[in-house]
Amino acid sequence: MKPAPFDYYAPRDLGEALDVLAEAGEHGKVLAGGQSLIPLLNMRLAAPERLVDINRIASLEPFEVTPDGVRIGALARHSQVERSEGIAAVQPLLRQALRLVAHPVIRNRGTVVGSLVHADPAAELPAVLALLGGSVRLARAGGVRDVPAGEFFTGPLESALEPGELAVSAHFPRLPERTGSSFVEVARRHGDYALAGVAAVVTVDDDLRVSEARVVCVGVGPVPLTADVSGWCERRPASTVDWAAVARAVQDRTEPEADIHATAEYRRHLVGVLAVRALTEAARHAL
């Protein structure tokens, strides 16, 4: 299990990186944290001709709290974001999700933006981006575009990132006032990809009635599956919302598949259970 040979580029700045990627086109692959890519290379399930290692581009490292949320650079490691109190204060869902991503040692190296680009439908961070309506900033030689989450994830392990582009950062909007969040999942082993998972954000109004509720499901469709369930909450106080009915509505929208670890039916069942748990916990945090 050793990688096939590749041409290696280690640009020192963004411009150089974009030039290399433009030149490489579809033969190029970006290496950031490598925690998803290098296993594929070692097993020779992927064998890109050119590997563009962005780890020396200092401008991609920062992650910061912005007036409207959190901007995370392409080299910010999971563990750095997880530890940031500033980020936890404006967007607690990130920490809630990051604690479910693999294991601490993997999080020391893996990057948030890398997880988004990898676009695994069972992964937590794409779901968070989708739920919050965040975006990914894609740069190419001579241009930058922000792609909203809803358009970014296009299929299992597929994203809107085009050959020649580099995901330079991602933006996660902050949680509104009186809003709580939660991320719950069931995995076979602690740290494994979830069999199914649900994240929720719930906002309550001045009378503590649920004004907005949204969920996202992982592991039960080709992309993170979001649902606005505000209408089902009927602007009731959180304690009287029929969360089970809300969860059923969510469940009905999932398209889970079976694999060696779980049947489709079980996964759909889990979504119902987890949606109740995530929504009630998020509602509790909103109060």
């Binding site: 590749f6 041409d7 925690q35 590997l51 040692v105 020391n108 190296r109």
Partner: protein, 160 residues
């Protein structure tokens, strides 16, 4: 194509020429002769190859040596001090935290970093801290015990 890189391994500057695809684990083991770092799966799951990169535990099998050119690396060979084994190493011996010893270097590096960050971890924090390392021999119970014991030893030494 070979890349001349410099790694500071266990405090010693090492220069080595490697192909770009050389995994850090192979570079340490086969280019630098530091065979204490073990390779158990080469897909990042088992944790045997865990080393400290600038003090933080990472998988050396999921890292290319060229990527970490210029960085500080600590391997199991670098954990002992001039006065002998580190508290973590001694605790593993005392608590029978190892059997075949193959996964041990990864656990030692992981636990060393864990205790630096959190000198008095709870049971749950220890479990979370070592949760990315597989051991097929011990059933983990004595490893958890070892980490707690290492925390005690470190506190004792700190107090001296």
């Amino acid at each position: 194509m070979r890349y001349d890189i410099t790694l500071v391994v266990n405090g010693i500057v090492r220069r080595v020429g490697v192909p770009a695809r050389r995994l850090l684990s192979d570079c340490l083991r086969h280019d630098l002769g530091l065979t204490g770092t073990h390779v158990g799966c080469e897909h990042g799951v088992c944790g045997c190859c865990t080393v400290l990169l600038d003090g933080e535990p990472v998988r050396s099998c999921l890292t290319f040596a060229v990527t970490v050119d210029g960085r500080q690396i600590t391997t199991v060979e670098g954990l002992a001090g001039p006065e002998g084994m580190s508290p973590v190493q001694r605790a593993f011996a005392e608590c029978h935290g190892l059997q075949c010893g193959f996964c041990t270097p990864g656990f030692l590096c992981t636990a060393t970093a864990l205790l630096r960050q959190n000198p008095t971890p709870t049971d749950e924090e220890v479990l979370e801290g070592i949760s990315g390392n597989l051991c097929r021999c011990t059933g983990y119970q004595n490893i958890v015990k070892s980490v707690h014991r290492a925390a005690e030893l470190m506190a004792e030494e700190e107090g001296r």
